[in-house]
């Protein structure tokens, strides 16, 4: 039966009624109609009309009419019987004709539209049966058949050739893979390059074969080969092409190709993550996750491990992107599945449970949830220990060292230095043991732990830290002889650590030397991968600038900061946000340099920029950034003070003091250095802005605190006490309280004399000045 739209199309094309085509395209209706014709019952009027219009019908009808007329004029019985027989025969012929016309109409209307059929239809539905018959002459059909046969034969041959091309392509693919195993070709690089040549030859054949599924398979395998041999940039377009082809295949047959599409998505995501393209990698992982969920529903035994793996991979990626809550939920999903799998097959999946627990531990540490991190590391260690009882494989020993190293990091974070050193030392012992057998593999881990230990010891065991850093540096330098690309960044990191250590030890020239070495390496690394190494270069520039500030080499310090500012312009948005603190530090320190040079307007501008950045950071994390915000406020206040803008200076200082007091309170410190210095500065501002009564009040109040500290045995504030006393004396003079002034000056002189005994160069001029003021006031009275 034909659909309604086709009936309409036929009806309008051949100018016959819809009813006509509805009947003749329906086999059942046509059969009934033919039965009706033979049983002399009525048939549809549209069909009758069409039959009457056909070119053969008038001849038959005429023949019948002629016999009927003969019958009317014939009286002889014998003759009438003969005529009647003839009439019956003609009537039967007409019935056959009608039936034949309807069968032909049915066949013609339901036949596929070829050029010949269309021509036949045009004649037939005009009633020109004879002409339609001529079109269908044997020779024409035969020719069409011959053509069709040739076409089919050509297509068949082509398909055979395509199949041979696929075979040829896969022969080259195998040849490529076998080339890698041919150790008679001594250099691995040559083996890979030769294999690539074979893959490329295979590509020619597979592309010509037009077999999309095979092309996808070939290109995926080629991409995977390149990926496995670290040729990431070359692997990428092949994976992408395989993905594109598999997407088209999935549209046609999801059941067959979904698993392959998901493999492509997963491998592409892994590759993109290696290239730090986290955004696109996440997109592919999430699509792969959706597919694995679908596949797992159909076949959980096969796909459940893949589902767990993809959750874990998404967790890692999200953690790298600092999307910690998503990372946590992904790791947890992975852990649930791995635990479930490990119940059935502990040998295969318990190590995955360990790996995921370790990842969760790292994540909780990042989230500063240290007890949770410890809980996960501890469980990971326990399971690893159980596994080690039955299996003495080196990977379990290695995992133990890795978890202990992570535990060490955790103890550092929770300020439990002894436990950190103990964990690090245990990890170091394991790695040293493993490195005896596999030095290339495990020496980098030895160096990593040494760096971690150096970092912990650099707080108070400087000599020990120096030893550890230098051993790490020595290891990396040796490893870099064979793999400079891999280890030069590690050398730079370690040089950076040692340089900071020497800065702490105040060994400035060796620190500078180390910093410059690190700087040179990082400048060359930035050419290879600017996104990764720009922040590292920034770190060295900032460290070097601080070193020059310590050496009071302001121009050199400024040059480092200026270079750092250029790097900031090239940082991408995510880095910019991450390095806002460093940016604020550069601006703050540049302002400091300019203030030292007396370029106050520039300094003010830079402090204000730094202040804006630090206000943002403070709003996000007040605990970490409060002291830095207060420092910049205090520095800015100094500029205002220098510019005699006392109102602005006072406001900035009051805000800074408020923050310093909060910090001191939180740390349970009664009088912090920052609070004291801010209070002194406020008193100075009162004095300089001629608010003598207020200044007297402030100085007296701070002197009470300073004297209390001095009485407790801490004489470090003596210079400040002397200055405050001197200023207090001045304030009394301005307030015409001369005897009180003399009293304060005298106290100041006593302290300054003590200080001159210790350091005459610094304090003698101040002592002279106070003595002069004292003499002057005494003589004027």
């Amino acid at each position: 039966m034909m659909n309604h739209s086709n009936i309409l199309r036929l009806s309008s094309t051949y100018n016959l009624s819809e009813t006509f085509f509805r009947i003749i395209t329906n086999k059942e209706l046509i059969t009934n109609t033919i039965e009706n014709i033979y049983s002399n019952e009525s048939i549809n009027l549209d069909l009758i009309q069409f039959i009457y219009q056909t070119d053969y019908y008038p001849t038959l009808d005429k023949k019948l009419q002629k016999e009927r007329e003969k019958l009317l004029n014939e009286n002889r019985l014998e003759r009438r019987l003969i005529i009647n027989t003839t009439i019956s025969e003609i009537e039967a012929e007409i019935k056959r004709y009608k039936a034949d016309v309807l069968v032909a109409a049915h066949n013609i209307s339901i036949s596929n539209s070829t050029q010949i059929i269309n021509q036949v239809r045009e004649s037939f539905f005009l009633g020109q049966i004879k002409s339609a018959f001529n079109i269908l002459k044997k020779s024409k059909i035969e020719k069409a058949q011959e053509n069709l046969f040739l076409l089919l034969k050509t297509k068949q041959k082509l398909e055979e050739i395509y199949a041979h091309l696929v075979d040829n392509a896969f022969e080259f693919l195998i040849k490529a893979q076998l080339t890698i195993l041919n150790l008679d070709i001594p250099s691995p690089k040559s083996r890979i390059n030769m294999a690539i040549e074979f893959f490329n030859k295979g590509t020619l054949a597979i592309e010509k074969s037009r077999q999309k599924n095979k092309e996808a398979e070939f290109k995926f395998k080629y991409g995977k080969f390149l990926h496995q041999h670290n040729r990431f940039n070359e692997a990428f377009p092949l994976y992408e092409k395989a993905l594109e082809l598999r997407r088209t295949l999935v549209e046609k047959d999801e059941d067959k190709y979904l698993s392959e599409l998901t493999d492509s998505l997963n491998n592409l995501a892994v590759l993109l993550k290696t290239q730090n393209n986290y955004k696109l990698a996440k997109q592919y992982y999430e699509e792969a996750l959706g597919n694995y969920q679908k596949l797992t529903k159909a076949d959980s035994e096969t796909y459940l491990p893949d589902l767990a793996m993809i959750h874990h991979n998404i967790g890692e990626l999200s953690s790298s992107e600092n999307d910690f809550s998503f990372a946590k939920s992904s790791y947890k999903e992975a852990l649930i599945i791995y635990r479930q799998l490990a119940k059935k097959n502990p040998k295969a999946f318990l190590s995955d449970v360990v790996m995921t627990l370790n990842s969760l531990g790292i994540l909780y540490k990042k989230l500063n949830k240290l007890s949770k991190a410890k809980k996960h590391y501890t469980e990971a260690l326990e399971i690893n220990c159980q596994l080690s009882i039955a299996d003495s494989s080196e990977h379990l020993i290695e995992d133990e060292a890795m978890i202990k190293l992570n535990l060490g990091h955790l103890f550092v974070e929770s300020n439990n230095i002894d436990k950190a050193i103990s964990s690090y030392t245990q990890a170091l012992d394991i790695y040293r043991e493993l490195a005896k057998k596999y030095p290339v593999r495990y020496l980098p881990d030895v160096a990593k732990v040494l760096n971690a230990l150096g970092s912990v010891n650099s707080k108070n065991k400087l000599r020990q830290a120096e030893k550890e850093y230098l051993e790490a540096l020595d290891i990396y330098e040796k490893l870099a002889i064979h793999q400079p690309k891999v280890y030069s960044s590690k050398i730079a990191n370690t040089l950076n650590n040692v340089a900071i250590l020497y800065l702490t030890k105040n060994e400035l020239s060796i620190s500078e030397k180390m910093h410059i070495k690190a700087l040179d390496i990082r400048k060359s690394l930035i050419k290879e991968n600017p996104n990764v190494y720009r922040p590292h270069l920034l770190e060295t520039l900032l460290n070097l600038a601080i070193l020059y500030l310590n050496k009071n080499e302001l121009t050199k310090a400024e040059a480092q900061y200026e270079e750092a500012l250029i790097i900031f312009k090239d940082l991408n948005n995510s880095h910019l946000s991450r390095y806002r603190f460093d940016h604020s530090q550069i601006l703050n320190n540049l302002a400091f340099i300019n203030s030292k040079r007396g370029i106050l307007l520039v300094a003010e501008k830079q402090y204000k920029k730094a202040l804006n950045l630090r206000r943002e950071l403070y709003a996000e994390n007040p605990i970490v950034y409060s002291s830095f915000l207060a420092d910049t406020l205090s520095n800015l206040a100094e500029i205002y003070y220098e510019k005699c803008e006392y109102f602005l200076a006072m406001n900035a200082l009051k805000e800074a003091l408020e923050i310093y007091e909060k910090i001191a309170k939180k740390a349970s410190i009664k009088y912090s250095d920052d609070v004291i210095m801010s209070q002194i500065a406020i008193a100075h501002i009162c004095f300089n802005s001629n608010q003598y009564i207020l200044a007297i009040e402030k100085y007296n109040s701070i002197l009470l605190i300073l004297n209390e500290i001095k009485t407790s045995g801490n004489s470090s504030y003596s210079p400040q006490i002397a200055t405050c006393l001197s200023h207090l004396g001045d304030a009394y003079v301005y307030n015409e309280q001369y005897s009180k002034a003399i009293n304060q000056y005298s106290k100041a002189v006593t302290i300054l004399k003590e200080l001159v005994n210790e350091d005459s160069e610094t304090y003698s001029s101040e002592l002279k000045l106070v003595l002069h003021k004292l003499e002057h006031i005494k003589s004027s009275r």
Binding site: N147, L150, L151, T154, K155, K157, L158, I161, Y162, A163, H164, L165, D167, N168, F170, E171, F172, L173, I174, K175, Q177, L178, T179, I180, L181, N182, L183, D184, P188, F198, K201, L204, A205, K208, K221, Q228, A348, D391, S393, E394, H395, E398, Y438, P439, V440, R441
Partner: protein
């Protein structure tokens, strides 16, 4: 155990998981016994193994510290090569397990590979023959594509 049996049938039947075995090799875990036997019977792997044993002996016999350091490094490189070699073999075995070789040449290569005779398998796939055939196939495909287009 029949040591003449290759590894492809174990992979095809699901008795060996290549991913797990590769992961075992990477993490220096023990591998499946059939994989172990397969490598032990491979003349190409034997050659590599002999070189490792030779270096090990040299290391044991050498007292000189700098020579020892050099030999340790060379030995380490050989261990790495051995590991990479095993992984590459298993990756190829995985590919063989997923394709049905149709050409005689490929069937022969697969058979030799399954006996651990990798270099011989490689030699069976003669590049010049394969390139010539490819050239002819592509030319024929071009001709037939034009013919098909004209006919339809």
């Amino acid at each position: 155990m029949d040591t003449n049996i290759g590894i492809l049938q174990y992979i095809k039947s699901g008795q060996i998981s290549i991913n797990i075995e590769i992961s075992n090799i990477k993490s220096q875990k023990e591998v499946n016994i059939n994989i172990y036997q397969f490598f032990m019977n491979s003349p190409d792997f034997q050659k590599l193994n002999t070189e490792i044993e030779r270096k090990k002996r040299q290391l044991e016999e050498t007292k000189d510290e700098s020579r020892r350091l050099h030999l340790t490094e060379a030995l380490q490189n050989l261990y790495e090569l051995e590991k990479e070699f095993k992984i590459d073999v298993l990756r190829l075995a995985n590919i063989f397990s997923t394709i049905a070789p149709k050409t005689e040449r490929l069937k022969k290569a697969v058979s030799l590979f399954d006996q651990g005779r990798f270099k011989e398998a490689d030699a069976v796939l003669v590049e010049s023959e394969m390139s010539r055939e490819q050239f002819e196939l592509i030319a024929l495909a071009d001709y037939l594509e034009i013919k098909y287009k004209n006919l339809s």
